[in-house]
């Protein structure tokens, strides 16, 4: 944990970029690749995961003094599975089509390592408010990552965005992007972009540091 007291906004922001679950920590890859074939699916999956993250964070944090250390993983899994069941039935009630599109992947939120990871690494050591913020930040970061992958795949693969046609008739769709392998490629492209930006940032910081040292000497 950080030495200095981190502000609440920082708790939220870190999930968006610095510790982005998908692009930086490479957690929760299965849903990120599997249901990102359209932007809508990606958003729905992200929202469902965010809900589970926030609620699991809250519950784990509230119960953190009651759960014995030895049985903590099992307890976390129980808590997470409960909320996932809620989400599963809620989505089925809201839109049966969406439920069919996401299929078993809603139930598979249970085994998303991101949620268990946050419960273990953060929520079990922090106050409920902070745990919820952390869950929300991670969830939004996760949703954003899914959405970006989904947009690339939908625009290139079917020539649409949110089901609206974008191109004139002449556009040849890249069918491969809708197929499973497209998920890998879209994710690789975004990962490259993120790596490139981070590398440039690191270099800029290093140069700034050197300049500061020269100025002082």
């Amino acid at each position: 944990m950080a030495l200095k007291q981190v502000s609440s906004t920082d708790e939220f922001i870190k999930g968006l970029w610095r510790d982005n679950p998908v692009f930086i920590q490479v957690l929760g890859m299965c849903p990120a690749l599997a249901v990102s074939n359209t932007a809508i699916n990606a958003l729905a999956m992200g929202a469902a995961t965010t809900f589970v993250l926030v609620m699991a964070g809250l519950s784990v944090s509230l119960l953190r003094n009651f759960i014995p250390r030895e049985a903590r993983i099992v307890s976390y899994i129980c808590i997470i599975a409960t909320f996932v069941t809620c989400v599963d039935y809620a989505i089925m009630a809201i839109s049966i089509e969406l439920h069919r599109a996401l299929g078993a992947f809603i139930a598979l939120i249970v085994v998303n390592c991101l949620i268990l990871g946050r419960a273990e690494a953060f929520a079990s050591k922090n106050k409920p408010g902070r745990a919820m913020l952390d869950g929300l930040g991670m969830g939004v970061g996760f949703t954003a990552a899914l959405f970006f992958i989904g947009v690339v795949r939908e625009v290139l693969g079917s020539g649409t965005l949110f089901g609206v046609d974008l191109f004139a008739d002449g556009f040849q769709t890249w069918t491969v992007m809708v197929l499973p392998s497209g998920g890998f490629f879209a994710m690789a492209i975004w990962l490259l972009l993120v790596n490139w930006i981070r590398q440039r940032q690191a270099e800029a910081e290093k140069q700034a540091g050197e300049r500061a040292r020269e100025a002082t000497s």
């Binding site: 599975a81 069941t85 139930a107 249970v110 491969v176 994710m187």
Partner: protein, 193 residues
Amino acid sequence: MNDPGYWSIFLNAALVNNFVLAYFLGICPFFGVSAKLETAVRMSGAVSFVMLVASVCAFGINLVLEAINAPYLRIISYILVISSTVQLVEMLMRKLSPPTFRALGIFLPLITTNCAIFGLALFQTNKGYGFVQAIVYALGAGAGFALALVLMAGVREKLDLADVPEIFRGTAAALVVAGVLSMGFMGFAGLGR
């Protein structure tokens, strides 16, 4: 079509709808342990074994849940029973066969909550497979996982020697390799159905 033969179930799970490359299940171990061929082989052995155990468990739980009419308990009971059974098997294995335990043991705790295992249990329930069908499905899924993992490890061992640009190293390169493998597996579409 309602009652496909065993061979077609096996082929379907192993090649056409490969768990890793078509369903994206078990991606974490797929990238995590595919750096070396030897660990990849052991890992896939362990995963196939756990899949078999999980499949049998899931079949049993489903019978009970249907008898008491409580499908909403499915997610929670699957994950608890599967992970505790794997723990039990791990203990038994340590007692009865230390060499197997040494080969597979360290991986067992890692994969109890693997999405491939859990996904297998859910899919076989959704498809309404009988007992033997479920076992064949599990064997096929395990074989498919092993195939994908071993192929991937082979490619990545070679990739280590190649001169790859710095930002491309690691996960990004692995993702592209996986994408190409996945495209290859699409060639199997239409088999076994």
